[in-house]
Symmetry: C2
């Protein structure tokens, strides 16, 4: 019985979504909890493999469980076994053809920035100590929208990977003391959001003088700015046709 569920996690103390030999992963925590509850080995598949230190509010995932299991009780038991930094919710039965990664239609990431040292946000935001022209960041962010080759913003070196992403939305808004950059696309390449945010901030603080549109069109890694730190990034939502 294939089951879909959402995962929220604070990634600060994890090596990322995926197994790594060098520390605990979100995937391993989930598989351990599910396997304990249903008493057989479970494999968990996620929509996106977030990096070390990156968080998620509504990551999408699936797991195959013994048929007939009570999903409401299972979710409660799994949450009780999981550490405080990881929670599952919205568990439901889906078709066997459903796949958390391949069925995902779009992903939304949010990146949080603050302009001073803020202890209450220290695990969730990038402290940008420079003077930034946020209007310029907002204007340049618009150039993300559309179908583009994001290879210059990808840190992985595989030439074979598809680097074309269709960005539906890119926006910067202020919520109280926090600057929130939201970006929604059909897919993302490795470190894309952090690389886009770092480049936009470099433009906003005048460290880069070229426009974002021109950097994007050049497809040259050397013209891209800094990679923003992992702690400010949240995989905010993954959308599917099959589930709400």
């Amino acid at each position: 019985m294939r089951c879909f569920f959402r995962v929220e996690y604070e990634g600060s103390d994890y090596v990322g979504w995926q197994y790594q030999p060098n520390g605990p992963s979100i995937q391993a925590e989930l598989e351990r909890a599910f396997s304990t509850v249903v008493r057989e080995n479970c494999k968990v598949v996620g929509a996106g493999r977030t990096d070390a230190g990156v968080h998620a509010r509504a990551q999408g995932a699936h797991v195959d469980l013994p048929s007939g299991i009570d999903l409401c009780k299972c979710q409660l038991s799994v949450n009780a076994l999981l550490p405080a930094a990881v929670a599952v919710y919205g568990m439901r039965k889906v078709a066997d053809s459903f796949h958390a990664r391949f069925s995902a239609r779009r992903r939304r990431y949010r990146y949080y920035m603050m302009e001073r040292k803020t202890p209450l946000w220290r695990r969730r935001a990038w402290m940008v100590f420079h003077t930034v022209n946020w209007e310029r960041v907002r204007d340049n962010a618009q150039a993300c929208v559309g179908t583009h080759d994001f290879s210059a913003f990808c840190r992985s070196s595989t030439d074979t990977e598809n680097m074309v992403c269709t960005v539906e939305q890119a926006a910067l808004e202020r919520r109280g003391e926090v600057w929130v950059f939201s970006i929604q696309a059909d897919r993302f390449v490795y470190t894309m959001v952090r690389s886009v945010v770092g480049t936009l901030v470099d433009i906003g603080r005048g460290r880069l003088t070229e426009s974002f549109a021109s950097i994007l069109a050049a497809r040259d890694r050397a013209r891209v700015g800094e990679t923003a730190p992992a702690r400010g990034l949240v995989l905010d939502y993954v959308s599917y046709d099959e589930v709400a």
Copy 2:
């Protein structure tokens, strides 16, 4: 030269504002940082002595520094020395008669509650797993407003302490998935906010059938509900006549 400043801290890993033999305190962190920067022993006085695990957004404090010191540079140096969980801001010179505790006119606390396991809020909110009638909580909260003897809501046993507080405002609002209880008063007694919140939630979930007004009037500790956990509490603001 007496200096006022504000302090933001995430109290999760601290024994509280004040020195304790059993672990690190916010006060000790601040005094260590100030003493290192100005190269003489500094004593820091805060407006409120928050408990272990309680946070602050705008605690008020003062410190006496050698006259002529550059406050802007001093604040930068102190923040660089302080751990990520503590930050100072808004540092300015005040009159020698100013006292962070005795000059404080009012304090505002906020208490954060969530209804499910939420990793991204795990250090900042109380997970209330029970079914709560929040309308009833909101209605009962109004009974806090006014001048009352809060001795039943105080966990300390000193009979001599003044237990009368004037509450100017008490409100419950929903922000996204979070329930925020705000309370503003001239002063608070020990564990008052956590005891008020615990009692209101006990009323909201039907565990207590008496109204908050009647519990408050009775001044009997036995009729008060649970004490809500420290992690949901933030000393949100301290107001002074002398500083903005």
